[in-house]
Symmetry: D2
Subunit: 430 residues, 4 copies
């Protein structure tokens, strides 16, 4: 994972054993709650190489605590099962060999119940030792909680992708409460800062290593849209031939849409008349909510839409500079095992929907900040080694656990990927 050592120090200073214990309990419970409606089969299947089975997420997050806390820092700890690290290591080369990623869906054993027992055993031991851990180990527990929150989001999106392959269109969760929302008014443009600004994590509170160091960057005069792009606006793009107009697309994007016959956001479905009026989600097959933010679009699509709209995507620095003064806990986030869903923007002034709802594609490649240094050891593999070919997304989504994101938070995906809750906000030069 690689978190910033100074951040850890700060974090440890500010965080008591009780706080970490409470957080640990809360995070671990949410994972179980999310898995509660799943059958053993639901939790074991893998619908593409990019996704993992729910059971695997449950075990992998447990392996993280078991390896980096119990094994490394609790003398005399005996592993739950010596053969399981091979199964549940994700990509840490320093941690040794592991099962090939596309094979994860063939692990029908251990069963979901056995994985639950694994969680219970590790949790019991963690709770027993937590109060005695040194600050730097307590920081690892905190890190493990952040890590598990990331996997909670993946668990939801991987389940949605899996269930979307099922012709029976099963819902994973009951619908989330959805307040009525009207198609919003046209975008208003909010001017951003210009000139030298500081971005990146500066040392207070937890952050992943790739969020820092804090550093100066230079912004050109620009403005951000006050809200996200909606499904209604996306439908206009489609109606205007957006998916059939090569001049709107990056070359790789045009290849992507043609080779995969992409004609709409992921999970959109045609009705009997051939029109895209429904979409599949964690709540099964539902009508498209025209007022809600568009979701499940790739970078290629977001970029093409922005070009069609005569605008562009924001850079990550523009986004962060504007977001820094907003409360990252406000927004539509994951709080409970329901079919999370981005919501229509509510009335008001200024920048809205910056946190939660959908991850916002930026035009920034995911690269190292100046003076970036990964953490030492296996944990240093968390972020840095993915710094090629991906783009940065900002702000979290409705499937992100509340409290997980920050203004400095950098998510990243390849430009063709679109099974996450990904959308966009427009930007323009001034």
């Amino acid at each position: 994972m690689g978190f910033r050592p100074d951040a850890v120090a700060h974090s440890a200073e500010a965080t008591s054993h009780d706080d970490v214990a409470a957080r640990f309990a809360r995070v671990r419970k949410l994972t179980l709650d999310l898995a509660a409606p799943l059958s053993d089969a639901d939790a074991s299947a893998q619908s593409m190489a990019d996704a993992s089975p729910a059971k695997w997420h449950m075990a992998h997050t447990t392996w993280f605590f078991e390896s980096f806390v119990l094994r490394d820092h609790v003398p005399g700890y005996m592993p739950f099962d010596a053969r399981w690290p091979f199964l549940f290591n994700s990509y840490y080369e320093a941690e040794g060999a592991r099962i090939a990623r596309p094979q994860r869906g063939l692990l029908t054993r251990p069963s979901l119940d056995e994985v639950r027992a694994y969680r219970a055993a590790v949790d019991a031991r963690m709770e027993a030792v937590l109060t005695d851990l040194a600050p730097e180990v307590l920081a690892l527990v905190d890190l493990g909680c952040h890590h598990e929150e990331q996997h909670q989001e993946l668990l939801l999106t991987d389940l949605q992708h899996l269930f979307a392959q099922n012709p029976l269109d099963p819902a994973v969760y009951p619908p989330a409460p959805r307040p009525p929302g009207a198609v919003p008014e046209p975008v208003r443009w909010i001017e951003g800062a210009t000139g030298a600004v500081e971005i990146g994590h500066g040392g207070e509170g937890f952050a992943f290593d790739c969020e820092g160091p804090r550093h100066v960057t230079w912004l050109q005069p620009h403005a951000l849209a006050d809200r996200l792009v909606t499904n209604a606006e996306w439908a206009d793009f489609m109606a205007d031939g957006g998916y059939e107009t090569p001049s709107l697309w990056l070359a790789d994007g045009w290849t992507f849409v043609r080779e995969n016959a992409v004609a709409a956001p992921a999970f959109w479905r045609r009705d009997g008349a051939g029109a895209f009026t429904q979409r599949f989600g964690l709540d099964g097959l539902q009508d498209i909510d025209r007022a809600a933010p568009v979701r499940h679009v790739s970078y290629y699509e977001a970029d093409a839409f922005a070009r069609w709209a005569g605008a562009r995507l924001p850079t990550e620095a523009e986004w962060e500079s504007a977001a820094a003064r907003l409360d990252p806990q406000r927004g539509t986030f994951l709080d409970a095992p329901v079919a999370v869903c981005p919501l229509p923007v509510r009335g008001g002034e200024g920048l809205r929907q910056m946190f939660g709802d959908v991850w916002e594609w930026t035009s920034s490649a995911y690269l190292a900040y100046p003076r970036f240094r990964p953490a030492e050891g296996a944990i240093g593999e968390y972020n840095g080694k993915f710094m090629s070919g991906q783009f940065v997304l900002r702000g979290g989504s409705c499937a992100t656990p509340r409290g997980h994101v920050r203004a400095t938070y950098r998510n990243f995906f390849y430009p063709h990927q679109r099974w996450q809750f990904t959308g966009l906000r427009l930007a323009k030069d001034l």
Copy 2:
């Protein structure tokens, strides 16, 4: 499936409602018994496109009775679930669209319990109507039983392939009883018939359409080995560089072994010293039984072995001509949910191991017999449409339900496939 209409007539004549009802009950029960030790996840996973989930086999065989008996011949029958035929049709184009084969493993719903309920509901209805069915419909029930027996074997081999992907090496079933067996004596050669002989199914009892019509063919002077090739003999082939000697191989076979780094039968495993001393099976990881017949070899390997041995594979006519006078129910077959396993040959004279143990590759391509006609309708898609690119195997295996095979029975697989219980018997010219 396509069975021979005249065979059906004969069969119906000879078979009472009670006989069919008893057979139906017995076959349906064995499938449930085979599935008993499986978790929902075990029953839902699919480890390659050639294989299907156990749950799918259980539902597909039920769909067969539901469609071709209840729906087609029982007025007023209401389908169990109108959406399920899309899920459980295998390859019958005449029965409409269906889920793509490699997607079967993503059907985590319906659950294993729901599939059991489906089976129970169809069985109940079948048993209620069975005594009133016309002879030609009764023949369809009989056909469905033969069909389900084929899927029982596939269920076992698909499970073995799935569990073989699991680094934990789990056993599917308890070991089958294995009497001690010594490495057998050298092969003795049994001379076969020469000149015009008749082969193929002639109308008595049940047979699949591709087994007939009965017809004359011409045999050259030849002999068959009195027993199957053993693991010990296969190890000799390997030790002699069999897998590294291109002159022993068909061109396609040589490509196959190089591209897939094939160096031993499927499921053989190297020990710590790099030697192939163990093999994975339905009973998990076990030592290789040198006295037992080799299993899980492809046609390419069987053909190369025969060339290495200075012999050849038998033709299907040679095999059938010799087998016609033997009892097809004697041998090592599937009787119960145990880890079936081919056994060392027992002492005795003459041809042994002709039925059961392992399917025997023949040098005959799977093609139509003279005057072959597939049955009418969807059922006609059962066999005929696979008549290109495959080779015939004869005799059944330890995973074939006892009573399922006949001397005329033609199994067929592509020359590279080897996850079935496939082995070989040598032949030579006289």
Copy 3:
């Protein structure tokens, strides 16, 4: 290549040094004539892995004589270039490593002129030594001539495939003379022999090893169509939805047509209105001749057509039994560097178009005849190692050098291949 040793003996007996010398000169000259209109680039390009550059055919056939005659049997022979065997060995494992087949099109050096010089040098040496060769070496020369004739046909079909990729639709050769031909009368059925018949090469004259040994086989009552299937009949099949009707197709064939969007024979082209009215050939883009035999169809298509027509394909034994009494030199064959083309059947009685025009797909898999033994050494790799997955074609084509085929001649291709001049004749049971 592997030719039958006894055939060689017979052949050598019957064939004088002068005869072989004349044949050698004639064959070698035709290759040069065929290559005469080609540019260096034309002769170097490779349009698919199944095809080879013309230059490669010219050099490979020369390598054959250089290796198996000059190197092996002429003391003191110094190779033309020691590095070239690596380039021009086709698939003889016993002859050592060689360039990967799909890379042949990247050999821009040696140039076409250098390859011509290679041919000239080898020819000069061959002619110098020919009169002194022992009979068994003379037989190798004869074999090399037959080998080169096979490559002459491949050279034509590979060029046609290459030029078909060029949007300029260039013609390779001037059109062949084409007498006017009317769409023929409906097929008449010619009854074949029944019962035990002998087929296969029996020892007189040259034959490839796979044509023998001569042996008894058994024929059922049947009849063959008196002529080939025409383009007009094929158009009827298409108009009747032949390519869209799954019940007409083998399962593998149905997959093939869907995955490759096959809707007509290879090289057929749609006109502006979307109708298939033209075809590309060695003479460029021309109107489809409705009276001529259909060409460039795969086994899958031939088999589907026959099913649609209520008939079947002949077996190779049926075909050979009927062809044995006909003159294999009569028919439309390759005589000169023109754009060869199958011709409409001419009036007359009995079986026509058996030799020449198009290779006729049979329903027989390409497998070993009883007691087949490949020749010893590298030359034994010629035929036997291809005996899996392919079907037999009979009779030669308009691109086969006149005199090359015999009634016993067995050509073979995979069921999806269709860039050769392949067509069909119907058969039926009586």
Copy 4:
């Protein structure tokens, strides 16, 4: 191509008709000189989808002038051949359909001579009209010259890749003169500018659209190595297990080296003892010059090397800021048809080898500068649509025509590509 309109204005102002005519003549001649030693076959083959045949480069650059100058701006111009734009359009969607890129190597017609005739005809017409062209059309001619210079470099690298596939190891050109060079002294670090700096093209002279607009960016304290990384240093990296140490690699890079068995720069060859002592180049197979800059490494390799060396790659802004005060015409560039080759650094002070020798990978993704706008029309497809997934390279190479590059010049390739003359210079934080 998309060049900056204001740049064009400036350029037109500064550039007389005579200057453009002289430049046009010089550029067009160099292409012919480069093609002079090629056979028709050499010029027609394509060794991978990323590369194009030399003939295609020659025709495509001609098509550019014919389409965007003669067709669009010379009334009454009749195209040389109306069917050729389909063949020689590269990727301009606005210019209509075109032959699929991997098919370019199958265009054996038109011949090399016909393409030369095409060039001669277009050149003659261009020269006839050049003096009458309006300034904005003259700017298009200038653009076409820059475009052709880019293709001259690709022509060389594509030929090198093609000839590298040939087991005969043919040289394309005679060796370039190579002054003796000693393995250089250890790197000295040259401190760069810090804080707000301006980069990007500002309007004087020609530039491609992606080089601008000029804009402020912010640099952190840093230093650049005074010279390029050498082959000797690369050999140290290899000897230290660089290619086998996952912690040095980006995740995608690690996948790349494993899947492609990458163990050395492209075109390095093992000697009989298994050591990498030779490399293939435009001058054929030669000993590796340990003193010369390493070439033909991918971004993944350059990044791993820098990590191994305890340094990093420079950003493009760092590089440009340092290069701005150097003469971009000094260095090892392409001047004539010889086997260009990067040279060992010569003694001296300060930054050396910044221009020429090898393209230098930077750590910057190839993305739009602030306020970037592509040109209007087909020409706007030149650069902007490639802005995803690629990294920026700076400084030109020994295969870049002298005078082609500038300090602001941005080249770009995917991180796995390495058939260009690509190398690296180290950077570090201060």
